[in-house]
């Protein structure tokens, strides 16, 4: 987990004061930092608003089709930000700068809030809201004043992930011509391979990440949860829930799909006139699609398995070590993928040469990069397990294992499933680590889409983009149908 941090320290230690001075202490660095902070702030606030609203829609507003809707609403997470940025600038020439960057990143990020929030909401009953209603609150006020605070840990955790993503992303803002702080890092890897400069910038990001993680931890504080038996919340078909979700899906999924279809239409290189041409295309796409699906499922499974014990370690009881471990896990997520990937190259080729360029090491890199997206939602459900519940179970003569399996795991399950879905989607679109660490010959939809895009083969890239959206919706449908159950229909 600390691989990127060790690597950064090793590389940054090569810098002398003059280097740091010329790189950091100049007006441009300050301007870029302001850019990134503004962007990150706007994206985080918007993602929280949209994510919470959609979580309400998904758990209270749809009587039917919930797993499908959740999958559709999660789909934007699987679309790399540079692809949606590309689509927006091509569909609407001149749409660029701060508003475009905010739109592109918000669409890529709100599922990071939405899925944990759904997981949290699906565990909450209606008793407290009912009480509020009898005291004269409107349904909305009751939700905002009674239920929303109970989702706080989940939403804060998601918001932290969004903020970290927003400070580390480069491709999304860059393609809509908004310069983020990470431009210095990409510049360094694009030319003289000045790894020292990249590491100095990386350290700044790591410090920001730790700051954000600590802030979130302070705001979160301890929740005092009490065990309560509640009737499941009422689920009705709400027209406004359908309408709002429809708008988000239109902006986050339909527009990118239209843009991709348009590229396919414009391209001379994709022709689908005959069955044979379809078959050729399918034969070309299949290995990449299957590699993407296999890698993301394997990685999501490993991440889930590791995150589960980690979530208990960091949240119950809360210790300084736990706090440190938790904050450390966020570093990998807050750094640009290329930095994390190079750190794995640096360490991997020296310490584990036999595993270098194997699936095992690639998956290890995915763990370092994405364990926080699974840990976040999981931890918030674990935090909400009432204190003493395990002792109660033990006094009823359940053993430690039985308690874990029959009491704790079912309560933590929604968070675990939501986190697994997030990890799966994040891995599916991952680019730099896959490019550097995948076994020879393994190509994913994301790597080839990026490569074709760079060569202006937009039509073929768009085919892969569409396949990526479809392929990643499979695990999301399954996972969301598992955790979105419950709730009584009326």
């Amino acid at each position: 987990m600390l691989t990127p941090a060790v690597y950064l320290v090793v590389r940054a230690a090569e810098a002398n004061w003059t280097t740091i001075e010329t790189l950091l202490l100049r007006e441009r660095t300050y301007r870029l930092l302001i850019n990134t902070i503004q962007l990150s702030l706007a994206v985080t606030v918007l993602s929280i608003v949209i994510g919470v609203a959609l979580a309400w829609c998904a758990t209270r507003g749809f009587r039917r089709g919930r797993p499908l809707m959740i999958a559709l609403l999660s789909a934007p997470l699987a679309i790399p930000s540079y692809v949606s940025g590309f689509v927006w600038t091509r569909l609407f020439p001149g749409f660029e700068g701060f508003p475009a960057a905010v739109l592109v990143l918000t669409m890529a990020c709100y599922p990071l809030v939405m899925l944990p929030a759904i997981a949290a909401l699906s565990g909450l009953g209606r008793a407290q809201e009912d009480a509020a209603r009898t005291l004269g609150c409107s349904p909305l006020t009751a939700f905002l004043r009674v239920t929303a605070p109970r989702m706080r840990t989940a939403v804060l955790g998601g918001g932290l992930l969004v903020a970290l993503y927003a400070i580390s992303d480069f491709g999304g803002p860059a393609i809509v011509r908004y310069e983020p702080f990470t431009v210095g890092i990409y510049n360094a890897y694009n030319g003289s391979f000045d790894r020292t400069a990249a590491a100095v910038y990386g350290c700044v990001l790591a410090v920001m990440a730790l700051g954000l993680a600590i802030t979130e931890r302070l705001i979160r504080r301890d929740t005092d949860t009490v065990a309560s038996v509640e009737r499941a919340a009422t689920v009705r078909n709400s027209p406004s829930a359908w309408a709002f979700s429809g708008v988000v899906i239109a902006v986050g999924v339909v527009v990118p799909i239209i843009g991709l279809l348009r590229e396919i239409g414009r391209s001379q290189r994709v022709s689908l006139g005959s069955a044979a041409e379809w078959a050729d295309l399918a034969e070309w796409v299949w290995p990449k699609a299957s590699a993407t699906l296999t890698l993301s499922l394997q990685a999501a499974l490993v991440i889930a398995v590791l995150a589960l014990p980690l979530a208990f370690f960091v949240s119950r009881p809360r210790t300084r070590t736990g706090a440190f471990v938790e904050s450390a896990t966020y570093i990998g997520y807050a750094l640009p993928g290329v930095t994390v990937a190079l750190s794995m190259v640096f360490i991997g080729v020296r310490l584990l040469p036999d595993y270098y360029l194997t699936t095992a090491m690639l998956i290890a890199a995915y763990v370092v990069l994405f364990i926080p997206v699974c840990l976040g939602p999981l931890r918030s459900t674990v935090d909400d397990i009432p204190n003493g519940l395990d002792e109660v179970s033990r006094t009823l003569k359940a053993g430690a294992v039985a308690t874990a399996m029959r009491v704790i795991l079912p309560i933590a399950a929604p968070g675990l499933l939501a986190g697994t879905a997030l990890a799966c989607l994040s891995v599916a679109k991952e680019l730099p680590a896959t490019l550097m660490l995948a076994p020879v010959g393994t190509r994913t939809l994301a790597t080839d889409m990026w490569s074709l895009n760079a060569d202006l083969s937009y039509g073929l890239a768009a085919v892969l983009g569409l396949v990526l959206i479809v392929v990643t919706s499979i695990p999301t449908v399954i996972l969301s149908s598992m955790f979105s159950r419950g709730g009584e229909s009326k």
Partner: protein
């Protein structure tokens, strides 16, 4: 108590189990490709900075003669981090600057003379550490609806004209732009280059993330002109057809820095245990047949050997161009260029 036990126990057992399970078969594959087994049957590992779409068919073809397993879209930065432990035998680079960076780090082996002598003198590396494979020219892509071909300047100094304020696009973080700036420094000296860059930035050029977006925005009329490499336009024509592409190319002339001719090239890693075979691979890249591939619409570059002519309409033949004379080895000083770009505030 159960929390800790559960935490530590399950994480260790399950994680190791799963990692080992999915690592096994691939581990064997990798060992097979990188190990130096006996003689001719070894499969080379090629790190290619160039994409599969661009050079995949050519590498596959050569692979029948010299077995090779390519890893496309690799970066020199990865080999620099791998150092002597790199599994790569060859690195096929997008740009002379990348090869220079590896050569400067002492990671490239010296090539045999018969290889270097196959390459025209102007495109040779004097250090003998890499071989140029194809050439590309820097160009100004422009929108004929906004700018008249006749009015376009013969030199990059014409881009400093206040009439072009805010209308020229460039990609400061892109490797090929940096090579252009390195060329500018070599031709006009450090002060001359700084002067041009400062005047260029004062004319408010529009910053892009790469060459693709520049080509796109000139094509849809958002941008009047942009600095890029000629083959990006060739790729756009391949993608959409000449009729659908409204932009055109303008080549600077008379040895202007803006007319820099850069090369893609390939080098053999010093750490490779299959150097002879890797040299054979390079020889295959330099045959007239292989070189003709670079001239095809799929690559759209200038071949260095043989008589193949570029098969892209609207791009002049290589002997009609008037590039500046630059020692390609010296293009490796990208660090100096980045220092200058940082100083003037472009990056």
């Amino acid at each position: 108590m159960w929390k800790r036990a559960f935490a530590l126990g399950s994480s260790a057992v399950l994680a190791v189990g799963i990692l080992a399970a999915c690592g096994n078969d691939d581990g064997d594959d990798a060992a097979g490709t990188t190990g130096a087994s006996n003689g001719e049957e070894t499969t080379l590992t090629l790190y290619s900075g160039r994409s599969e779409d661009l050079v995949g068919p050519l590498i596959e073809q050569i692979g029948y003669e010299v077995p090779v397993e390519p890893r496309y879209d690799s970066k020199a930065a990865q080999i620099l981090e791998e150092g002597d432990n790199s599994p790569a035998d060859l690195f096929f680079a997008q740009d002379a600057g990348e090869l220079g960076a590896l050569a400067n780090a002492g990671l490239l082996a010296e090539l045999p003379e018969d290889i270097t002598e196959m390459i025209p003198e102007a495109y040779r590396s004097e250090s003998n550490s890499w071989a140029a494979t194809s050439a590309r020219s820097r160009v100004l892509i422009y929108d004929p609806a906004q700018l008249d071909e006749g009015d376009l300047p013969p030199s990059i100094d014409g881009l400093l004209d206040p009439e072009l304020r805010g209308q020229v696009g460039y990609a400061p973080t892109n490797a090929s732009f940096k090579s252009f700036v390195t060329g500018l420094r070599l031709i006009r000296g450090e002060d001359g280059a700084r002067e041009w860059l400062e005047a260029f930035l004062a004319n408010e050029p529009r910053v892009y993330d790469g060459n693709g977006p520049i080509v796109e925005e000139v094509g849809n009329g958002q941008l009047a002109a942009g600095l890029t490499n000629h083959y990006y336009w060739a790729k756009e024509v391949q993608e959409q057809g000449l009729d659908a592409v409204s932009s055109r190319l303008h080549f600077f002339s008379d040895g202007d820095p803006g007319a820099l001719m850069n090369v893609a090239g390939i080098g053999v890693l010093e750490s490779s245990e299959n150097k002879e075979q890797a040299f054979d691979f390079i020889r295959q890249l330099l045959t007239p047949e292989s070189q003709a591939y670079f001239a095809s619409a799929a690559a759209g570059e200038y071949p260095l050997i043989g008589d193949a002519q570029l098969e892209v309409e609207g791009v002049p033949a290589i002997d009609e161009l008037q590039p500046p004379r630059v020692n390609l080895d010296e293009l490796a000083d990208v660090a100096g260029t980045e220092e200058l770009l940082t100083e003037v505030g472009a990056v």
